[in-house]
Symmetry: C3
């Protein structure tokens, strides 16, 4: 690794000096990545990465949506289409087009992540700009051909202690089986899975009924009844736990929870299978299932992660042309207090349950999230997520939630990324911002240096290990 | 008092230097405490305080809820139960258990308040940590046995000019009578009361109908009719004014106001007495009574304080086990603009009315609160409240509201505390934050130093005295 | 101009030094003012300004509302009444009364704007305070009598490259015709108009039906039918474009948009003409017309500006006494995501459309506005508006929106003012704040200095020219 810089540290001299010392304590700590979207095949198969554009630009919707916002269609950046629209496939052409718009990213985390990745991962010191596009492309392409840049080698070089990927219950987890067979996966392994059941829980998901049928096949139960459906979910959770999973993940439009009795839930489920569920029915069923999953978590120990607030596929043209997860989702206002009441009434004070709450709506930090996490044993606050996964918001998160929830009701950083090569820089950014925040507390005599030092190590390492049950 | 420190002052050298000078102007100013929850018996009876745990930990729900959030039940910290659950009574055991979790409070105002109270009030320089728990406990216990640490002696040492407690209209105010008899209370006295009628206004309050009956008895009117009810409230307000009250206080779930005519209000009142009021009826009656109280305020001069936005007893298990006011309340989103319209249409431009608005929802600062306070003669903004009573939010409050409302539509700091010994540090924190904010304005050439100097004294002293009618 | 000061630049030495350099790059750049409310008669007629009070205090509701908030009625400040209430007309008396309350403005942008205007525009170095009221008044009055202080002379001295005023479709644009005849107006001219159709679109506007009738007369069509109404709007847009307009402006209570078919829209329109439209009808028609105007914009090229969120005439007494636009409007919570969906579904990805979104609700910056602007080709973010047009919010705007939307989805500063003499200082404040924000990025190694330098010039000059189509 290159020598440490003052990137993102406060410029006030007294704060910067303290921040440097604090950052030094965590700079080389192993990375704990309990929530992300890296494809496990990358590590299971350990093949060389594709060309720089296919690796870095095409799959990163932070990048393609920014160019879309300035009128550059994703097809020109190689984003695969779902409707037959032809797309650019030449990596160098994609790279050049992207580089022409590099100035759009000034002040964004994408800019930081890419610059640091070029420098720290690929050793490219040349600054990206239109005139250097080819030079940077070629340098990265050359590295990608080297064995030291194969995924497992990078995993080790990055110092990742554990990485959780995310799979649907319909996934047969064969990539994780391969990883386990290679000594990389399984319980306590370096690469583990996460149970993400949205596509069998959300009746508004494409082909929910078909998914539920497949769930029965994968689990070996009859999901034609609600009881069989619950049993299938339980069995899949067992299989995920056997593949190393320590947590589940739930991406809902809202945080609403609801307790239905078995008769009500069964009726709703049957209605869904008949294709007659309304939007309100779908919302009620999702809400009910969160409480149901909380109950299962108390039994089997999976940590629940709740990611509410994204309106999926808001950009309809983009969805029609390129499908899901290409940058067309937008956050909406999210209410937590009343939404979570049924779940909290049931299990909120039970320390056997752990629910990590994320948000896309920072305007709930002091009003709802911090008071809830600081008042219920089951609740923890996840790191700022997605649009909020940025230096300014990471700082505002600490400034907002610490005073009511402290540091120890927060769950540590998660990188939430599918961009494998960006994992180190994302954690590094969070560590730098925490160092700066703690340095301000020290410089303002609000926390002694020794406690700030202990805290930053907890935030970077011990807390995520403990809360996500990743201690070996 | 020990020498001043730079606690909470900005670390930027030019700002810090200015902030020191500004802070020095208010550091020793008398404390004006127009809103708080100290038990008047403490000062009326002037008995020695109990042991350190019973004084400092057991009644402070900021502390017990944080430990609850990490799975430590309040019973183990001595919080009295209402359902027969046995609770810890040994002060030293409570203290030790608390100290084991001291790290949870890093970065919280509770940490600041306790540390400064230990140091400045009790003269204990030893830093609290598990290994020093007994030493700190014994040192505080020793002080508490000394006559200089009796409540009235501390009151004088703290430099409190006036302290308002809060009582229900059902209270016979005998403690305030005792204080008046001792030369400490009554109109213009050092300890005064505040008229807080929630338990006879809110039909959803435990035993509202019984409370209303008792109100009639205390006031000597028949509260079986709405007219008699209003008359009883008027008489109790008179009695409170005679006991020194200059303000009323209203803690409602929302800020909603409503003007009903007498026929409608009477019908709603009768419905409530018959036990038939719905949640909507209760909300309407609370809303109506705020307008009614505004009218009374114009007549009798009491300043109205409006505290909306707390969902009381959200943690149902905590409420069932330990009752009210033990940390189970959580804020909800609060709308002010439309909610206050009926009240403002009626009296918003009448300078005889003063309504001090508080909030638990800082995401209304620039959108609603500052524009309202900067546009209606009757409105003032109260200090950030409860979960928001913290260094970061006090700073954000100034940064957010000053630009639309200025300084002179804010009502000054209120400590809002039942923890008597923490009163000085709470005011001190607000004074330091204001010094830092004003120092930034000066350092950025936005305000000349002499005007900043005048402003900080106004904020700390003159404004609360004037707005709460505490000038002698 | 006087030498540059460090006003509003960050006090941290390393940031300040960088900020000075960045600010120097834009300090003397021409002013682009694509959105404001200066009366075009001022520049068309070029008469001397009235006395200082009539020029500076009477028409500025930022000033009169602050004094109202402290109980000083607007009539005493000379604000014209609509109900026969007598008002102060003596400029000096108004000025003195205002000056007595000067302290109310500490920490507000009004204070900054006035101080800098006194100094930089009028050359008055004496600080305003009650004792100097007459001296400052006389000095300004003396300047106003000089030919160098006539509007066109000031326009040139201010370095304004282009100024857009705002007119209703009912306006015959004769002032703009005069300006064009004098070589000051017309397409590509120095003073242009903006098409603001609220009074013929909003059925809740005073005398909407009468306005629509007059619209037909002005446009020479029969607005008795919906088709004729659309045709009239199209013709007026043509006339505005001929008078130099490059944008339209839409001030709605909400951001709601809606697509009605012609039959539905015609029925709603007819209902409105019959005086039978409900509030919901009026909202639906406004919402529909936004989509209609977007379609027209794609045809005729006008940039759309959307200003939602003001509750007009909230202060009913003020409205009854003094009419519209005198400080009685208050912001309300504004939802963008779902509100804009119909418009975005129709045209959101069409780069021929430009919609500049403004807000009075900063608690949408990271949740909705930045993700929307960073994801749709048609959307740009306008500068913080009205209550938010202030140093702190300008800074928070950059801190909040840049990370998701970058700099290049923001539309540059607009002064939005009717106070002609305050135009330079308002732009200057924005340039200083941007310099400070960019300086922090540089000082924290998040952006190289050369790119920050390019960015600040873009923000101050190139972006508003390009986005508002003001390039010559």
């Amino acid at each position: 690794m290159p020598p440490p810089t003052d990137l993102l540290l406060p410029s006030d001299p007294s704060q910067r000096s303290i921040a440097r010392d604090l950052y030094a304590l965590v700079r080389d700590r192993p990375l704990i990545s309990p929530h992300g979207h890296v494809d496990p095949a990358i590590l299971a198969e350990d093949r060389p990465f594709p060309d720089p554009a296919q690796l870095i630009i095409v799959p990163d919707h932070y990048l393609t949506r920014m160019l879309l916002s300035q009128g550059v269609p994703p097809a020109r950046l190689g984003v695969p289409s779902v409707n037959g629209e032809p797309v650019q496939t030449d990596g160098r052409a994609i790279w050049r087009l992207f580089t022409e718009h590099w100035h759009l990213f000034r002040g964004t985390p994408s800019r930081l992540w890419l610059e640091q990745t070029f420098r720290d991962v690929f050793g490219v010191e040349t600054a990206l700009r239109p005139a250097t596009a080819d030079e940077v492309y070629d340098a990265i392409a050359a590295r990608l051909a080297e064995p030291e840049f194969r995924p497992r080698a990078l995993f080790e070089r990055f110092g990742i202690e554990v990485l959780a990927t995310t799979e649907s219950p319909l996934d047969d987890l064969h990539q994780h089986a391969k990883l386990a067979a290679d000594g990389w996966g399984g319980p306590g392994g370096r690469v583990i899975t996460t149970f993400r059941p949205d596509n069998v829980v959300d009746m508004e998901f494409d082909n929910w009924a078909g998914n539920v049928r497949r769930l029965g096949e994968v689990a070996g139960t009859d999901t034609g009844t609600y009881a069989g459906y619950l049993e299938a979910l339980r069995r899949r959770r067992e299989a995920f736990i056997a593949a190393g999973a320590t947590s589940s993940d739930h991406g809902h439009p809202t945080a609403r929870t609801l307790r239905l009795d078995t008769v009500e839930a069964s009726a709703l489920y049957a209605k869904g299978l008949r294709g007659e569920a309304t939007a309100a029915d779908a919302e009620a069923f999702r809400a009910h299932m969160l409480v149901e999953f909380a109950r299962m978590s108390i039994d089997d120990g999976l940590v629940m992660q709740l990611h509410p607030g994204a309106v999926r596929n808001h950009n309809r043209w983009l969805h029609a042309t390129h499908g899901r997860d290409v940058g067309g989702d937008i956050p909406q206002a999210t209410e937590y207090l009343h939404a979570l009441t049924p779940l909290l009434d049931a299990y909120g004070n039970d320390p056997r349950l752990r629910v990590v709450l994320y948000t896309l709506d920072e305007y709930t930090f002091t009003r709802e999230l911090a008071p809830l996490a600081g008042g219920y044993a089951a609740l923890y606050l996840g790191a700022p997520w997605w649009f909020l996964d940025s230096p300014e918001v990471l700082r505002r998160f600490r400034e907002a939630v610490t005073e009511s929830a402290g540091f120890y009701n927060t769950a540590g950083f998660v990188d939430d990324t599918r961009a494998f090569c960006s994992i180190p820089v994302r954690h590094d950014v969070a560590r730098r911002i925490d160092a700066g925040y703690l340095a301000r507390l020290v410089a303002e005599h609000r926390l002694p240096l020794d406690e700030a030092a202990e805290t930053i190590v907890d935030l970077a390492y011990h807390l995520p290990r403990r809360i996500f049950k990743l201690e070996r």
